[in-house]
Symmetry: C3
Subunit: 489 residues, 3 copies
């Protein structure tokens, strides 16, 4: 078998090198003339990419499951050229506020989902239904979360024996919460600069750099494909490896990667992935890889060795997810709309549950849709595991959703008691020490415990920000109330 693998590798190498036939367009050739020297790393990176090697015509000639474009017909002028600088950075010039005149071309800096949709329309459409594409607004335009952001990023100032907080500026938000959620990228005039090729004028961007999943772009589109498909190689290998997801899913609020890393799946990936193939499309379970990465369970088109589809490709990401485990006060059925600012609970807040945990039925998916999504995920599990295994796993996750929600409810009742007795005031529900403990209860510990359950990475449900910390937190919240109550007598 290994001889065959070696041969397969050699054939792949030779095969892909013959794909070098793709010629850059005249416009791209002009870009490359200077940029080979001006930004050599970016050009060399692109030269490794599939974009540099395969024309749309060649791509469309492949069997449907093997295609990496979701077009069925190549648009004019793009049939037989490489997808190079000009193809992406000069398209849709009028929509782009960041378009500027550059060496005879109308170039824009920021390539957006709308630009990528030229060749990948299905993926971009699916992504528009993904919570991620709305990540900017879902955080910044939800008053509750906006307050959490301000309380987190604000700068403490000490004056006359008191601490007050100055609101965070845009630069701080851009490199913290909005690094992942996305910034608003705008244009603020232009600036002349001396370059090796003479003086040139460039637009001045605000909110830049950024590659957050919900970026608001200069052409008004939302999202950033480069969040997962890093420029300029756009390697599918990279999107399929868990390190890409780790960029935003590793911290205590969302330790998905950490849980994966200590799970059996993660262990198999770490130990054996050097022998796998991360470039094949479709992705064949068992043959191309022996254990799932994030992409395998949540996004990739997966087939078995007979070519039967095990899971459809999706850029909506939650097709296989009945529950939303993360980020909110309680776990709950997935929201229907990717724009969660439309939600209103009984208290009038844009939260998918009441403060006591009941889901706001109108805005979340129903049991039938949950069952369908569970089924879609199970098909992935069943490619390796028998049904009894999979049922046991789901039963545990649903048990853990219940128990962690109960634990959060207890923490919520304690904080309500603190507010009722004025031991904590309610100017903000996030800024005092006991309120921060309450936030950590759900945002860190309950989240971590649920992820640990979902992906079987045990320690993140026990001593690594799991149940140990939830119960310690409860005791410390009780003590705080006692100590503080004494104070105020």
């Amino acid at each position: 078998m290994r001889t065959m693998m070696v041969l397969a590798i050699l054939i792949t190498v030779i095969g892909s090198s013959s794909a070098l036939a793709a010629e850059p367009s005249p416009a791209t050739s002009t870009c490359l003339e200077c940029h080979r020297t001006a930004t050599p790393g970016a050009v060399a990176d692109w030269e490794r990419s599939r974009h540099a090697h395969v024309t749309l015509q060649e791509a469309l000639a492949k069997p449907a499951l093997e295609r990496r474009t979701s077009l069925t017909k190549a648009p004019k002028g793009r049939t037989d050229v490489a997808i190079g600088c000009a193809e992406c950075h000069t398209i849709n010039p009028r929509e782009h506020k960041d378009t500027f005149a550059h060496e005879g071309y109308k170039v824009h800096v920021v390539v957006t989902p709308q630009d990528c949709a030229t060749c990948h329309p299905v993926e971009v459409k699916q992504y528009g239904q993904n919570l991620m594409s709305h990540a900017y607004g879902n955080l910044n335009k939800n008053p509750v979360y906006h307050d959490l952001m301000e309380v987190t990023n604000g700068v403490p100032i000490y004056e006359n024996g008191k601490v007050a907080y100055r609101k965070p500026n845009a630069q701080t938000d851009a490199e913290s919460c909005n690094y992942c959620h996305g910034t608003v990228v705008g244009v603020k005039g232009a600036k002349a600069k001396d370059t090796d090729f003479g003086q040139m004028e460039f637009p001045v961007l605000t909110g830049w750099p950024n590659q957050g999943v919900g970026r608001i772009n200069p052409d008004s589109s939302m999202g950033s494909c480069t969040a997962c498909h890093a420029r300029h190689q756009f390697s599918i290998q990279m999107a399929r490896k868990p390190y890409t997801c780790a960029e935003c899913h590793k911290g205590p609020d969302v330790p998905a990667y950490k849980v994966y890393e200590v799970s059996k799946h993660g262990n198999i990936f770490s130990s054996l992935h050097e022998e796998w193939d991360f470039n094949n499309v479709p992705w064949t379970v068992g043959k191309d890889f022996s254990a799932p990465t994030c992409a395998a369970c949540h996004a990739s088109l997966m087939v078995n060795e007979d070519g039967d589809v095990v899971a459809e490709r999706t850029h909506r990401m939650n097709n296989r997810l009945p529950w939303r485990l993360l980020g909110l006060i309680y776990a709950h059925p997935h929201p229907k709309s990717p724009d969660t600012t439309v939600i209103k609970n009984k208290a009038g807040l844009a939260l998918p549950t009441e403060l006591t945990g009941e889901p706001v039925a109108k805005y979340v998916i129903d049991a039938q849709e949950q069952a369908q999504r569970r089924k879609a995920m199970e098909r992935v599990c069943l490619a390796c595991h028998h049904e009894g295994w999979v049922e046991g796993q789901w039963a545990r996750l649903e048990n853990t959703i219940r128990t962690t929600n109960e634990s959060t409810l207890t923490a919520t009742k304690i904080i309500l008691a603190a507010w009722d007795t004025d031991l904590a005031d309610d100017d903000s529900i996030f800024n005092e020490a006991i309120e921060k403990k309450w936030v950590e209860h759900w945002l860190f510990f309950a989240n971590s415990t649920r992820l640990s359950s979902a992906m079987a990475g045990a320690d993140y449900g026990v001593f690594a920000n799991g149940r140990w910390y939830m119960n310690k937190n409860i005791q410390e919240m009780i003590d705080w109330i006692e100590f503080k109550g004494r104070e105020t007598q």
Copy 2:
């Protein structure tokens, strides 16, 4: 030398591919017929395994040190076939409560150490002397630790201004502590299911899925070989890489992998292991690998380039360990029996030390045995380091055992003071805030500091859950007593 390495790789590839001669048994062929479609990932994984490629006859023809079976003679019917589905899933049918009739065979779901012992009897016997094989009982049947587990996993419920804890259910324990320690896998009737091949009946397992090191199996055996040798590839490469150990040895209670990762050894592994050979048996120091992984120091058969044995293979794991650094209140000489529930200290508790730290001599190994184990470990160290280096390293570890035990004694005296003065009550010794600080003192910080010393990963003995936190903890325990004392006046 590198030309030779390339040649060696090619020869290995061709060599191992000729091993493909191994034919599946008729029974296994029957399994494969359907399971190639039913569980394609599992079958493809097995096809990459040595079990699929080498017959016992071939395995036994190798020189003793190169053998991966500890048999000396092949049992009937297994001489010249691949070790496939049926060889493992139909053996010992009568012992297995999970045996069920399936397509004309008596199949069981859970393959156990007793099943593996058919070809690996020495390893299974050694493993029976390993603390790990008793990990279920050592946790669940020791009243002290059972209480710690309940206090950790219990669900806080708030009623009438008070918090009470509901005991954790079996599902919670199974995915947290018992994920690593092992569950009790039982059979609770059977259930008919519709499959692509018609309706079939399968046993319903409890405590399933699980692959914990001390799993109680449906054939009454203890342990799970797949904890480290993941199905169905059973790759020695994987068992030798540190990611496998990280599954259970990474959390704050036992951060062995984290310490390793920042040690010089771990750095060399991470930087250079792509050039090493993780499949050779025996494992040649310097030639196959340049720095030890967990397996090299604790388990593997290691030789030098002359073929002299540097260290014997062991599945008892503690042959080279004079001290037990982890998990208990104080570090102490290794316990004699892998079943630690037999221990009784003066207070009548199943703990290998008194509450003040003195080892319970009757139950722990003596100085002579400690010296032998140290010598066994030193032989590994001396393969690369000179004696002065190794002596310096041991002196530091023993110093750190003393100082961390002293620090824990101080924390213990503080908690005793809290109990004596009724500031904390002793319904459980783990459930109040100050008691949790005491637990973290030894379970997190002292453990971390000792592991950091043992494997030279400095930060885990200082600012990453090390001495910094022990001394901060002491101050916060003192403050808690002051604040609480004020309360109760």
Copy 3:
């Protein structure tokens, strides 16, 4: 292109194997005779090294940019031999207090920067200007930091209802702070030992083992090249991979590696580095690697595909760093002298800022030098990014330097209030609970936030020891003062 890569690899392999011509010197051959058996791992490791394969003559025959020695002429006797055991362990015998008679040679155990300077004089000279080479004294001889070390490593002892701290011994310091900062390696007599080759006498070293960056060596030189260039392979590959830096730059006080890991750069490294070339000198951006590692930004000689130098090699490490972000109470312009014990602020302390944050101008670099260093770093960024991107990145970092310094100032004002009111006493400024919170404010949280900004790994500036913890810390410091104030009334 990939065909060419494969060919290039084959040529490299064959090319480097022809380099095997390098013969060991007679002295080294003598060493190898016994040490192949005595320390097989060390010898095999050396055999993989460039030192074993390339003579100085061959090295000097290369074009200047490709040379890995900074000599221009080979010293006598080293022209045409491998650089083996004897070349390093017998040089400069009289300077070495650890020299001992061994099988007819004068051998020393500890190879030092002064020994390495025989072939690498420029690197050793640069390293002498590196803060790291002074890391022992900068920590141990600065009274403020020496106190922090004692408070951190001291052993708490409980007597008569009170906790006192015993000062840490040298062994504790050696395996904690001084593991990275370096120990003083001394000689304390000699000791006879039985070996496989008869009885021999070896020097007894103190402070050994150690490979800290600021080690004080038995020849009075400072530093340890093996901190980053691990013995005995001295692989440039290893020094260029981030795992090497992680050994000392991963803990909460300096989480550089953790930030890198979740940055886009780190993600690209983790996902794609198996296809890169870490051995080429000079290192070509885009061709040899697609995203920077620590070495690329801070140390390596980097060129573009035309061979133009993008960045000079430096072992001073801070040539491209206008700001010192780490370890001190406030971020500040880099100190002028690598020996920071010479600094005196207004309070007479060896700190580069006042307690309120103003830099001590006399001892830190001026704005002009800062601008030059920033320009040097920008040249690295601009190899892939456009100017607007780079400017946006710097603006954020400088904003974050300001806001984190402000946050630390607030924490400092709170602790000053605690001292003023005698709620905390000033026997040490680090030993009480609130003082430890103050230390964590700057040593953990502000550092983490700044590193997160500098390298764009967002979570370490928010929920992973970032701004969330700074603001929580402020609230808990305020509460502590309230609770403690109540106590002392």
